[in-house]
Symmetry: C3
């Protein structure tokens, strides 16, 4: 590992960060820049598997695109290995919260990602991504006494109802 | 992006990390070192806007200073751009939990920060910070059967009551 | 701080990330590579103190080893200082969730770590680790209406029961 390797690591982290941000902000066109053409995604221990950038984006935008779907995916603790000048692997810890106001559900969980990256025309892209969950749980929201949504990116412009 | 740029990025991340830590540890004097004199903060989609370091610190120490206010702000996924030798922008994902034992409330949420940084006398400082929430929710604690606070930085010295 | 220092910081972050991952994945042999022989751990404000790598691993594998113990420890916001070519200190923010299906409990919390690192035979190791909690809370799971575990690393292979 030397300083030049760190520049590559930073570029790899950045494409992963952009992927996670565009997922939660529902910026599907920008998300498409994160993947190789033939990228493969295998979410939830492989239960959801999609081949090709278009299929991945189609799945994510369809299943997570609604304004009532508030998602917060956070990745941590990157362990990235450069395996050649144009390939790398990465392990990440993830945790996520999804507040679905139409389905009256909160889903919370944690997982570990195993990714592969490729450098294409000088830009690192995600070639393979997938995660296996440590745990996941689901909870109806209406059954929680007094639980109240106080801000939403989509319906309150990200502004809180709570007064400081 | 080269290795020298990474040194700047690390310094920018560090001032942001110090800001988040001093917020949760209520170290207001140390927090003051994180901002430019004329820094602007626009929290919660701009609902809470403060101009100048003193106004920012005054707001935060007043609204979050009580020992009954247990906050955990965590930032992730930095996308930092150096826009000149002395200016930079940064996008961060955030999630936070606040346990208010006096108001019997838990507040949880997620957001994205958009920051600007300036290098002043060789030190990076936060010149502008603000976030927009993906979601935020509020929940009364007494209505949760069996919920029990088992540690507090302020009242148990950070030690847990739970026996391993 | 220069680019060579960043290479050291990356190596220090990596050993900490490996420690957190092996904790949640229960990979005790790999975890042992993270510590110096005489490492000291002082968890929960010093309530749980263990001296020596073997004692630390024994405590963690005993208290967190069961397949019914689903833990998610996440560390953030590293403030690492190189104090000599072979020693360093580090402050980290942490948050954790533990879902104990046998004890019908969820434990959630946040803390700050204060670590010391040593470079031994060219490899950075954890020499001292400890954290103090901002808050911690415990909640019985059966009392939460409709709460359902939908994935487990140990019992569902990390695959979710929820259909997208």
């Amino acid at each position: 590992m030397n300083a030049d390797d760190l520049v590559e690591l930073e570029a790899i982290k950045r494409v992963k960060y952009r992927y996670m941000r565009t997922l939660d902000q529902k910026l599907w066109d920008e998300m498409a820049t994160c993947f190789t053409d033939d990228a493969v995604a295998a979410y939830s221990g492989g239960k959801y598997r999609y081949e090709g950038r278009e299929a991945i984006i189609e799945f994510l935008s369809r299943s997570m695109g609604a304004d009532t779907f508030h998602s917060s995916h956070r990745i941590h603790q990157p362990e990235i290995e450069l395996t050649s000048p144009t390939t790398a692997t990465g392990t990440w810890a993830m945790d996520d919260v999804v507040v679905m106001t139409d389905w009256d559900l909160t889903i919370r969980g944690a997982a570990f990602y195993e990714d592969r990256y490729e450098k294409v025309n000088g830009e690192w892209k995600i070639a393979h991504t997938g995660y296996k969950r440590t745990y996941e749980e689901m909870q109806p929201r209406a059954a929680v006494p007094g639980l109240k949504l106080t801000a939403s990116w989509w319906t309150t412009g990200g502004v809180s109802d709570i007064d400081a």
